[in-house]
Symmetry: C2
Amino acid sequence: MSRWEFPAILAEAQPLQGLGTESLDDVWRSGQTLEFQANEEVFSQGDPAERCYVLLEGHVKLLQVNAEGEQFMIGFITPGEIFACVAAFGEDVYPASAIAVQPSRAVGWTCETFRELIARHPGIGRNVMDTLGQRLQNSRERAAEMATKSSEQRIAGALLRLARRRSDRPAKNGELMEPIRVSRQDIASMSGTGLYTVSRTLQTWARRGLVTVARQQVSVTDPDGLQRLFDG
Amino acid sequence: MSRWEFPAILAEAQPLQGLGTESLDDVWRSGQTLEFQANEEVFSQGDPAERCYVLLEGHVKLLQVNAEGEQFMIGFITPGEIFACVAAFGEDVYPASAIAVQPSRAVGWTCETFRELIARHPGIGRNVMDTLGQRLQNSRERAAEMATKSSEQRIAGALLRLARRRSDRPAKNGELMEPIRVSRQDIASMSGTGLYTVSRTLQTWARRGLVTVARQQVSVTDPDGLQRLFDG
DNA sequence: CGAACACTTGAACCTAATCAATGAGTGTGG
DNA sequence: CCACACTCATTGATTAGGTTCAAGTGTTCG
């Protein structure tokens, strides 16, 4: 039982599309709401996989660290999205770390509970399969991108993904998009390049008017130009 | 209605684990068996997504081609595995091409039929979610690998994945593994490098006794050594 | 036998990683 | 409020890893 009222965002969440009020209520009552501060870890790579989550508020990044200590950002979660759902199926440890990049709130269910919910409400299963399918395709495209594209193209791809996530609604005057709040290192982790390369590339683009940059912040001023760069 | 008897491999197929005889029969009767010659296309990237498949016999590779014409191999399917299942969920066109590398046989269901089967037999849904989850994790690891590892490590990774697939049963005398029948170009597509780099790398390894090479063929003679190389 | 194909190898070139030094913004405590 | 330390970012110089081009060898097949 949670001390929060049923959050509106949950009814719009991907995995719960098409569910009736009573189903949504069952889902809501079966989970716990959890709060995280900026930079707090939701869970850590290698920990036993206990819960899966739907994000209600804030943003969470998913980071994978390999044996050599190099990190790679495999995802960026926005409100309404499910994460760590892989944990509920087969995997016994979390394959990545989840870190809140802003103060965030999420609902969590134990893997067991989540499986039961799917059994009780088959619509959830269908939605989760859809989501997993889309993410699998995304991830494969991303792998192909890492393998075949230049570092400049990969950085463009990373920025475009972030920008599109942030402002699903078209920008105010069709010109400027919301600034993205990430460090150069974060962009490097997303695009599979180094900090220095990202810095240089962004400077070049800024001179050409494609983006404007600041500390911990990038604004895409010419999405179409960036897209053309990405396409080659 | 198929002109084939119920194939034993189907009962062992990942997506059909834990199903009763009558369920298996329903699944079998709902699909069509299809045969493919070596190098024949099962479906082509961009085609409208109509069917998903379980491979019964042979091997199928999944290739993604980007706008610039560079190709990247996203998967290698062995008997008992499901493929194109993403097609059944949301996607309207195949995101990759599937090509039989040997004479192959598969069962196919239309997306609609497959959805109905999942509704009738919830176990299939659970299995598919498990499979999708595992593949998502694999694909993410692969993306991270492409982003952070050297070309030598990526080639080692590709060979190890292939070798393990081929001989789940340990090799005869614990020393030699079955030769893998792929071209240098295929290895390049899997590891995100070029044909020349693959050739050079394999030659170096052959001199060191890690592998033996021939036309359209690679045998891993020292899997552990290759693994150490992969780990760095 | 000739043609097509798969592969190897040397050499030139180029991208991007790395090293090193510096600058700019943020936050803390005296 | 300023000085200090700290984190984040820029930029030049250097270098290594890998791609690409070019030429040549060995195999398979009609």
